[in-house]
């Protein structure tokens, strides 16, 4: 294991953990502004996390070890998944961690433990959230696989690092396959991070709850870990979209100046994408639960088309 990879591990995980609450803050701010409110300060997510980390975690008397372990499993799995997706710099060797299938399985593991923890306390809300989450995941996961399969077809590799490396420095605005794949990637980002029109992360209403329902039993540092892992997951999926479609600026060699400029570039691109997510959420109403497969089907359709285009090229 070389120095470049060790540095990459530290930089990527720490950077992902640091910027994720900021992107969440931007989404909330843009949504608030779109609704004619001032909204919370951009740094509010950091204050919330700090506050929660200082607080004691309380558990239901009916909950088992699953509730206690799930936040730590979640943050560990997402931090490991962060190694699959380079945010600011691509190491020379990835030691097997950059595989798309590994990345997808890590996300599925986090989702599994999240759903299990929702069921564990035996509350009606938690069970309902888990049930809905699993229903949606049964539709979105095959589609996510097709989307990433399309990426693998386009770049001729299953290695995310190699995809990003090939993508870096090229102009892709003319590539029809990438034009097609950008929309499914965005839909996967919206569905996987429980955003409108699939879920509404702002509410605790029974009708709209999916993600929040599973976390309703959590408090204190456990809730902070769950929130942080959710924000990191969003950043990772945003990074896939950014580094495939708008890859300019990502560092391909280890160097302080390159990494700093790439970090600044990613921060700007991430902020722009977060603002777009905020606007997208503000312009749509939440979908009826049974209409969600329609949205997911569009992702499937466009990624299948991208695959067909690549096959016939």
């Amino acid at each position: 294991m070389n120095l470049s990879f060790i540095a990459y591990c530290f930089i990527n995980i720490i950077f992902a953990a640091l910027v994720s609450p900021f992107f969440m803050g931007i989404v909330k701010k843009v949504k608030a502004l779109a609704q004619g409110r001032m909204g919370p300060p951009l740094m509010q997510q950091y204050y919330n996390l700090l506050k929660l980390f200082r607080k004691e975690a309380l558990y239901s008397t009916d909950s088992s070890w699953v509730t206690r372990v799930a936040p730590y499993v979640n943050i560990t799995v997402i931090a490991t998944a962060a190694l699959c997706v380079p945010l600011v710099f691509i190491p020379e060797a990835a030691y097997g961690i950059s595989n798309v299938i590994v990345f997808l399985y890590l996300l599925a593991t986090a989702r599994f433990f999240m759903a299990l923890s929702g069921l564990d306390a035996g509350s009606a809300f938690g069970g309902m959230g888990s049930s809905r989450e699993m229903s949606i995941s049964s539709v979105i996961e095959p589609v996510t696989i097709v989307v990433f399969a399309a990426l693998a077809f386009i770049f001729n590799t299953l290695n995310l690092h190699e995809m990003f490396r090939e993508s870096a420095g090229q102009v892709h605005l003319f590539d029809p396959s990438l034009v097609l794949i950008s929309i499914p990637l965005f839909i996967v980002l919206i569905v996987e991070t429980a955003r409108i029109p699939v879920d509404n992360p702002e509410t605790h209403l029974e009708l709209t709850m999916i993600h929040e329902a599973m976390m309703i039993e959590y408090s204190g540092r456990d809730l902070a870990l769950m929130d942080l892992s959710h924000a990191m997951k969003q950043t990772l999926l945003m990074a896939v979209l950014i580094n495939i479609i708008f890859p300019w600026g990502i560092a391909t060699e280890m160097g302080v100046a390159g990494i700093i400029s790439a970090a600044a570039g990613f921060l700007l691109k991430g902020a722009a994408l977060s603002a777009f997510i905020g606007l997208f959420e503000s312009s749509l109403a939440k979908m009826r639960f049974f209409l969600v497969p329609n949205l997911i089907m569009i992702a499937f359709f466009l990624s299948a088309l991208a695959i067909l285009l690549e096959v016939f090229r």
């Binding site: 034009v179 089907m297 299948a304 088309l305 067909l308 016939f312």
Partner: protein, 224 residues
């Protein structure tokens, strides 16, 4: 003059976007989005025609771009929007035979079928002029997507958007394979059908399904 490679790149990207709008027309239920998707789709066709004009300067391409802009980007969407305001229908939630999700599945199969069929008919074009081949395949696929919308939707106004999408598909096909005289005939026939449909429906009211529309026509006949 722009480089040919650059123009081909832009045209390919626009072709992909045309299919994206086609997918939205197949799957969306609210009429405002449908009309918006149709307008954007027509605008992409204008850009494609203009880019093709830059690559191969021909007055026909320029006239097609101008005609499409004036009729399909401005006039038709404006007319449909006016009708929408009058009939006060914002969504089409009823479907014949197949749901939007199923339609998208079928569309993938249609796309595959068109690609496969064309490889036998104009397969030589694939190596000689790839962009024309892709454009022709996308055009026919879009036409079939429009056909799918036409028979899967119940509301007449959505059926018309399906017809208009079909016509966009024919236009796209014609843009890339202009030497085919048959296509001009098809274009004219479809234009006529749309015109007849629009005129008839505007006369008898659009806020109905086909079945209700037939009943109304029978009522008119009895009144005569």
């Amino acid at each position: 003059m722009m480089a040919a490679g650059l123009i081909d790149g832009w045209v390919e990207a626009l072709l992909a976007l045309v299919l994206v709008t086609g997918a939205f027309i197949v799957s969306r239920r609210d009429l405002h989005s449908l009309v918006f998707a149709y307008t954007i789709q027509s605008l992409f066709l204008v850009f494609i025609a203009l880019l093709l004009y830059l690559a191969h300067p021909s007055e026909v391409l320029l006239s097609i771009a101008l005609l499409t802009l004036s009729s399909k980007v401005l006039l038709i969407p404006y007319t449909i929007k006016r009708i929408q305001k009058q009939i006060k229908i914002s969504r089409d939630v009823e479907f014949h035979y197949i749901s939007p999700t199923g339609s998208l599945f079928v569309t993938i199969l249609l796309f595959l079928f068109v690609y496969y069929s064309f490889s036998g008919v104009i397969g030589g074009l694939f190596t000689a002029d790839k962009i024309s081949y892709t454009g022709a395949v996308f055009g026919v696929s879009l036409m079939l997507m429009g056909m799918l919308v036409t028979f899967s939707r119940k509301k007449v106004i959505t059926k018309i958007i399906g017809y208009l999408t079909m016509e966009n598909g024919v236009l796209l096909f014609g843009l890339f394979l202009t030497e085919l005289p048959l296509i001009i005939e098809v274009l004219i026939i479809i234009d006529l059908i749309i015109m007849v449909l629009l005129v008839t429906i505007l006369a008898a009211g659009m806020d109905s399904t086909m079945e209700e529309f037939h009943n109304r026509l029978h009522i008119f006949r009895r009144e005569d």
